[in-house]
């Protein structure tokens, strides 16, 4: 079924389609520009020039400060890393033979999979202190780090489901033959089952990475200088309504240009690793 949908998706997302979308975006900006020039009589700088002026800030944040789109990417990396490690542990909990552990893992997975990300984010912001005291050391917990942790929770739960699904998709015969060779359960899991799961897990895992990246602007509402916050700051500084659409469009383009190749790559891997038969 997945192979089928991915085929249809990939048929839609051809390079020609991509070019078409980009051309349309360019047209909107140019038309906006022309309209603005007519309205203002050329007294203020044009829309394209204004966008260009703000681009460095939106991409990498204010000077000597880390922020902007680069921060969104950094947060996506870190949240994915935390979510993947946590998800692997939680996923192994889901298939554990130790019943209490399995139940607790199940509850955690269901809870974090079925909670709105924004609410989780607020919850983590309020729950965690602004600094940690460990062995006499004071570790500051900046807002962006707390937000990253908040985003990693739903990722963790979804990665756990990916792990559980992949392990269950390996034929039981593999377990039987490993068992009959006197492998322990741990050896069977780590040496036989999980290595065969990796290929199956990569496409859904990348899919979740894209979803996570596209959700990183959520952190703007908890006071982090990400590209969304900075876009709003730039718009507030300019005070020009005709900039609203082009500015947000530019922000959309940043995410699109970053996520689209990953989505394409995911589809290719999905097709490559598709189970034949």
């Amino acid at each position: 079924m997945t192979a089928d949908t991915s085929w249809k998706l990939s048929a839609t997302l051809t390079p020609r389609f991509l070019l078409g979308v980009l051309a349309l975006l360019a047209l909107v900006v140019v038309a906006g520009e022309a309209w603005a020039q007519l309205q203002m009589g050329g007294s203020r700088s044009g829309i394209l020039a204004t966008l260009w002026k703000w681009t460095p800030l939106l991409l990498v944040g204010p000077p000597r400060e880390f922020g902007g789109f680069a921060l969104n990417i950094a947060v996506s990396f870190l949240a994915m890393a935390i979510g993947t490690v946590g998800g692997l542990v939680l996923g192994l909990g889901l298939i554990s033979h130790f019943v209490p552990l399995r139940h607790v893992s199940w509850l955690m997975t269901q809870f974090f999979r079925n909670s709105p990300w924004l609410v989780l984010l607020f919850f983590v912001m309020l729950l965690t202190p602004f600094q940690l005291r460990l062995f006499g050391l004071t570790i500051p917990l900046p807002a962006w780090l707390k937000a990253t942790f908040g985003l990693s929770l739903p990722i963790m739960a979804n990665v756990a489901e990916i792990v559980r699904g992949a392990v269950n998709s390996i034929p039981t015969a593999q377990w039987e033959s490993a068992e009959s060779l006197a492998f322990s359960r741990m050896q069977t899991l780590w040496r036989i089952i999980l290595p065969q799961c990796v290929k199956r897990m990569i496409p859904p895992w990348m899919n979740w990475y894209c979803i996570l990246t596209m959700s990183t602007p959520l952190i703007s509402i908890v006071g982090v200088n990400d590209s969304m916050t900075l876009t709003q700051d730039a718009l507030a500084a300019e005070q020009r309504t005709e900039l609203l659409m082009p500015m947000y469009l530019m922000l959309l383009c940043f995410f699109f240009v970053y996520c689209y190749p990953i989505a394409r790559w995911t589809i290719r891997l999905e097709r490559k690793y598709a189970v034949r038969g």
């Binding site: 039987e176 009959s180 060779l181 006197a182």
Partner: protein, 252 residues
């Protein structure tokens, strides 16, 4: 736990006594008893669904039994205190669908268990694995992955993989049923070599010719019980039970 010293090779190496096993409401084994002596080749035949595969899986504790006793080298297999891994080192098993590890090459499949389970040095295990690959006549295929091998070749790798653990008993669960008629011969030839070397073998099989030629004892199972048994010479010519005769007339 039964003391291992109490067992001597003169006693049965595998001993089943009144073994019962149900899956839900389906009673698959309804009191099966028989003995296998060291070096014997025992063939279990019978219609599908008669519990043959379950019987083999009980011997290496892949499937727990409900009632009765199974002893391997004098030790109760279903004693909760028994070290199952210890048992499985002594009892090798080969499956109908080969079940090789698809992410490992043929050689790695063979040497994996000795390295991970028996903690043999890698070099030593590899040399032994290469020798086993020669024994099953697959030299040159060491680096091939299971997906690149034919069914018969995969099955011979699976046999080599089991032999690498240096087992005392080999269980063969319909090992030729998934193969093309041409490749059946290669696999049977491999098993024949083992049998002639004195390996204790328990085979569930549909290869009557093979059972007749190599089997020391034939057991016919139907609906969870042993209906009839005997050495091949008498079993195939003078079966007395009507169910056995009906089965043999269909298959021979």
């Amino acid at each position: 736990m039964t003391d291992i010293a109490a067992w001597t090779p003169e006693q049965p190496i595998v001993s089943l006594d009144d073994v019962h096993k149900s899956f839900g409401n389906n009673e698959v084994l309804k009191g099966v008893s028989f003995d296998v002596r060291k070096g014997e080749v025992v063939c279990i035949i019978g219609p599908s669904g008669s519990g043959k595969s379950t019987l083999l899986r009980c011997v290496n504790a892949l499937v727990p039994i409900d009632r009765g006793s199974i002893k391997v080298e004098g030790r109760e297999v279903h004693d909760p205190a028994l070290d199952k891994l210890e048992l499985r080192r002594k009892v090798g098993m080969v499956f109908q669908q080969y079940n090789l590890f698809p992410h490992k090459s043929a050689l790695e499949n063979v040497m994996m268990a000795p390295v991970l389970v028996l903690k043999r040095p890698k070099g030593e295990a590899e040399a032994e694995a290469r020798q086993l690959m020669r024994k099953v006549r697959l030299e040159g295929k060491e680096d091939a992955y299971p997906g690149e091998l034919s069914g018969g070749e995969q099955q011979r790798v699976a046999i080599a993989r089991s032999l690498a653990m240096d087992p005392d008993i080999m269980l063969f669960d319909e090992v030729t049923s998934a193969l093309d008629p041409e490749t059946v011969k290669e696999v049977l030839a491999t098993i024949r070599v083992l049998a002639e070397e004195g390996m204790t073998c328990m085979l569930v099989t549909h290869e009557m010719g093979f059972a007749r030629e190599l089997g020391d004892h034939i057991y016919f199972t139907d609906r969870g019980v042993i209906v009839e048994h005997g050495p091949p010479a008498t079993f195939f010519t003078s079966a007395s039970d009507p169910r056995t005769r009906a089965f043999l007339s269909q298959i021979l």
